[in-house]
């Protein structure tokens, strides 16, 4: 018998890989600027909370943008159990451990065979400290080993696993801002095609100076409020956080007595090679991702009741996503929840997948705050400024990133 995380030819004992199975979401966990858990995040979505505030972690006196969505340190300190394993945790792994623990607990403590995680910056903030200490020239090297270790993206994953008592192989995807959605999408494929029964998947990214200044240097970050899908949008603000979903087959869930909170029904990925940081103006990248996701879900465009858009509020990104949504889906309700908490990069896709699960579970449309006026070139309706009740059976969650990576998830109500 092969191990679950192993592939072996030609005698692997499992179902035919090409037979698609339902993939259930049996647990969710999240920490974001909108709250330290799913309950608080739901409350913030329902109340259209603005969690963007001034940056204090590093010097922003020379940047245009001076705000971001923060996870308060107090949330991390309160939630981390005073165990030996937790003593290793730092900000990145701390956020991840909280989200993973919540997802694992809400799924009734499954044994994941694999973890698939997305990140963009990984432990860059530790690399920054390491570099500044090297530059100073007279710094003690005593703390260097830990700084270097924490720079590596997989270290945070291992520390979070250890804190949660979960030991599973991990695959860490760094597809820029679509990483979280790619991680969930790949996990969906693995469970749906019968290669795995239960996977913990999600994304994490802490705020760090390099990325903050990088987006500012591209003039993609705004000194104003973030206004996705608004005709007067001026750019993004960054955020941070972590989110996890437990995906499993019906057979696995039934064997444990676990219940589904939603279903991942489809996944589409595309690569737009027009430019490293700019999407093709036609919107072909997002459109292909959405079309492929719908095909994967065997769903028609008219079945989509809500789109959680990538919606970074940059001129070009929103324009191309807007074209793609308008052409493919028409008058569907759309919101970008980044308006409330900023863009959490590699965590964004996972956070927004959890938001979509909450919308499906609680039957409401999350709001797109700071919204003033729609762009007249688009057909869809922006869910402006306030959440509202709605019948939602099928939702799309879009994530697009540098390098032209585009990912769309299709989620259905349980």
């Amino acid at each position: 018998m092969s191990m679950p995380s192993e592939r072996q030819t030609p005698n692997a004992e499992r179902e035919t890989p090409n037979a698609k199975r339902r993939v259930l979401v049996t647990g969710i966990g999240i920490i974001s600027p909108l709250g330290p858990d799913a309950v608080e995040n739901l409350n913030s979505l329902l109340n259209a909370r603005d969690a963007v505030s001034p940056v204090t972690e590093f010097d922003v006196s020379k940047t245009r943008c001076k705000t971001a969505g923060h996870v308060p340190d107090a949330w991390l300190a309160d939630a981390l159990a005073p165990t030996r394993a937790a003593s290793r945790l730092h900000r990145s792994s701390g956020m991840m451990a909280m989200a993973l623990r919540e997802a694992w607990t809400s799924a009734r403590q499954p044994v994941p065979e694999l973890m698939v995680i997305g990140t963009t910056a990984g432990g860059m903030s530790y690399g920054e400290i390491f570099y500044r200490r090297l530059l100073s020239g007279n710094s003690s090297r005593r703390q260097f080993p830990r700084l270097v270790a924490n720079y590596l993206p997989q270290k945070a994953v291992l520390d979070a696993q250890q804190a949660c008592g979960i030991r599973a192989p991990s695959q860490i995807i760094a597809n820029a801002c679509s990483s979280g959605s790619n991680a969930i999408g790949h996990a969906f494929d693995l469970v749906g095609r019968g290669l795995h029964e239960c996977i913990a998947c999600g994304g994490y990214d802490p705020l760090c100076e390099l990325v903050f200044v990088g987006f500012d240097s591209l003039q993609a970050a705004t000194p104003e409020k973030i206004r996705p899908f608004d005709v007067s949008r001026t750019g993004l603000v960054l955020g941070e956080g972590a989110a996890f979903l437990i995906l499993e087959s019906e057979r696995s869930a039934a064997s444990r007595g676990a219940t589904a909170v939603a279903e991942v029904a489809g996944y589409g990925i595309s690569t737009d090679t027009y430019h490293l940081t700019q999407p093709h103006p036609s919107g072909i990248g997002p459109r292909l991702a959405m079309e492929r996701a719908l095909a994967s879900a065997s769903a028609e465009p008219e079945e989509v009741d809500y789109v959680n858009g990538h919606g970074t509020a940059t001129i070009f990104n929103d324009a191309t996503e807007g074209i793609a949504i308008s052409e493919l889906l028409g008058q569907v309700p759309v919101s970008s929840t980044k308006s409330m908490m900023g863009h959490a990069l590699g965590a964004a896709g996972a956070i927004e997948a959890v938001f979509s699960v909450l919308a499906l579970r609680e039957q409401f449309l999350p709001p797109n705050i700071n919204f003033t006026e729609p762009d007249p070139s688009w057909k869809f309706e922006v869910v402006g400024n306030e959440a509202r009740p709605a019948k939602i059976r099928c939702a799309l969650s879009n994530s697009f990133g540098f390098g032209g990576t585009n990912a769309t998830l299709v989620l259905r109500a349980a």
Partner: protein
């Protein structure tokens, strides 16, 4: 469903492509060493650089004119692997191939340069030209553009075992998607003083030009380069088994985790050769323990003393070596081999081999293995 190796490619300190690198290794070549430039402190480290002339072909692509070394290296190895698989760049190929890119330290040169400007001159000194190249998936994006891929491109990050995880990921894609014909798996590493000094803080970087494997544990010397394999549905050498990798939570556990994992991955059939990851660090001790216990008579070849430890590229280099060892029925001799492992192959020789094991003890808590074999 069987997954085959359809082609292999590389660019290394000892050769501009896989076959020439392999020939050099079989002749006992050792990469030239150079002192890493741009030291930030009074600590010098040697490295095994790729000669710039090896990159001239990749550098002619307009898309790569501002890209980092890591993208140029990855492109060179990718094109070599595609040629070995008899695949030509075309629109049709772009729709039938996925990319899985393995990264460890990422584009460290540009990242360092970008952050250095911020740290020294403030945020308003940051270059918008450099920032996009600091993103982990920049190299994969460039290769996707060159190949016309509009579908799947994944960049995976991890430690020096990441190449084997990437191969496993590629196998998963092919297994799940009948419409996908090929998967290009690429691993790349560029060297930088910062990287070596970081490893030195872990006591894993050697200050001399050479390091011994399975002997004195003095740390490693870094090398750069890239290796690539084209996975697909046709060929003579198949991926008999791959794995997502297993974590260990302390260095002392690495040997124990490997001892549990490697025999399971290798299966019950005989393994005829091992291409190992020994690099002058704790990895050597872990491999010694596993090989002497589970594979006591299997010859072990380790390419790192000849080419340096190339982290994100290293296990793909090892895999390319294993494929070429099976293809040519030859095994190079391991340079600077210590005496703690009796089965280490010390001189180049012909072999009769149909099944090879690739071993990876990653420096940051990952262990992995891969089995290649002639299809039956």
């Amino acid at each position: 469903m069987s997954v085959f190796v359809e082609g292999v490619g590389a660019i290394s300190p000892v050769g501009p492509n896989a076959e020439q690198s392999w020939a050099a290794l079989c002749h006992g070549a050792e990469a030239a060493r150079a002192v890493m430039p741009q030291a930030m402190a009074d600590r010098a480290y040697y490295c095994c650089p790729v000669p710039p002339k090896f990159l001239s072909e990749a550098a002619r692509y307009p898309r790569l004119r501002r890209s980092g070394t890591i993208s140029l290296l990855g492109t060179a190895a990718s094109l070599d692997a595609l040629a070995d698989a008899s695949l030509k760049q075309s629109k049709e190929l772009g729709g039938r191939i996925a990319i899985v890119f393995a990264i460890c330290s990422g584009g460290v040169k540009y990242t360092r340069r970008f952050y250095d400007e911020i740290a020294r001159g403030g945020a308003n000194s940051a270059s918008p030209l450099l920032f996009p190249e600091t993103v982990f998936n920049a190299a994969a994006s460039h290769i996707a553009a060159l190949l016309g891929v509009d579908g799947q491109s994944y960049t995976l990050v991890g430690d020096s075992s990441i190449g084997l995880s990437a191969i496993h990921f590629g196998c998963q894609l092919l297994e799940m998607q009948p419409e996908l014909e090929h998967c290009l798996v690429v691993g790349t590493e560029e060297t930088d003083w910062l990287l070596a000094d970081a490893f030195a803080s872990w006591k894993m970087a050697e200050r001399e030009k050479r390091f011994e494997v399975y002997g004195k544990k003095s740390g490693t010397v870094f090398g750069e380069g890239s290796a690539a394999i084209v996975l697909g549905r046709n060929g003579t050498i198949e991926i008999a088994n791959s794995h997502a990798g297993q974590s260990f939570f302390s260095i002392d556990d690495a040997g124990e985790v490997a001892l549990q994992l490697f025999p399971k991955i290798a299966g019950s059939e005989r393994v005829d050769l091992i291409v190992a990851s020994a690099n002058g660090t704790f990895a050597d001790e872990a491999e010694q323990r596993v090989f002497s216990t589970a594979f006591p008579t299997t010859p072990v070849y380790c390419p790192k003393p000849a080419m340096g430890e190339s982290l994100g590229a290293s296990t793909l280099f090892q895999t390319v070596c294993a494929v070429l060892a099976l293809r040519h029925q030859k095994l190079p001799g391991t340079l600077q081999a210590g005496w703690k492992l009796a089965s280490v192959n010390r001189e180049a020789r012909t072999i009769e081999a149909s099944r090879a094991f690739v071993s990876a003890i990653g420096f940051n808590q990952q262990v992995n293995g891969l089995v290649l074999g002639y299809a039956k």
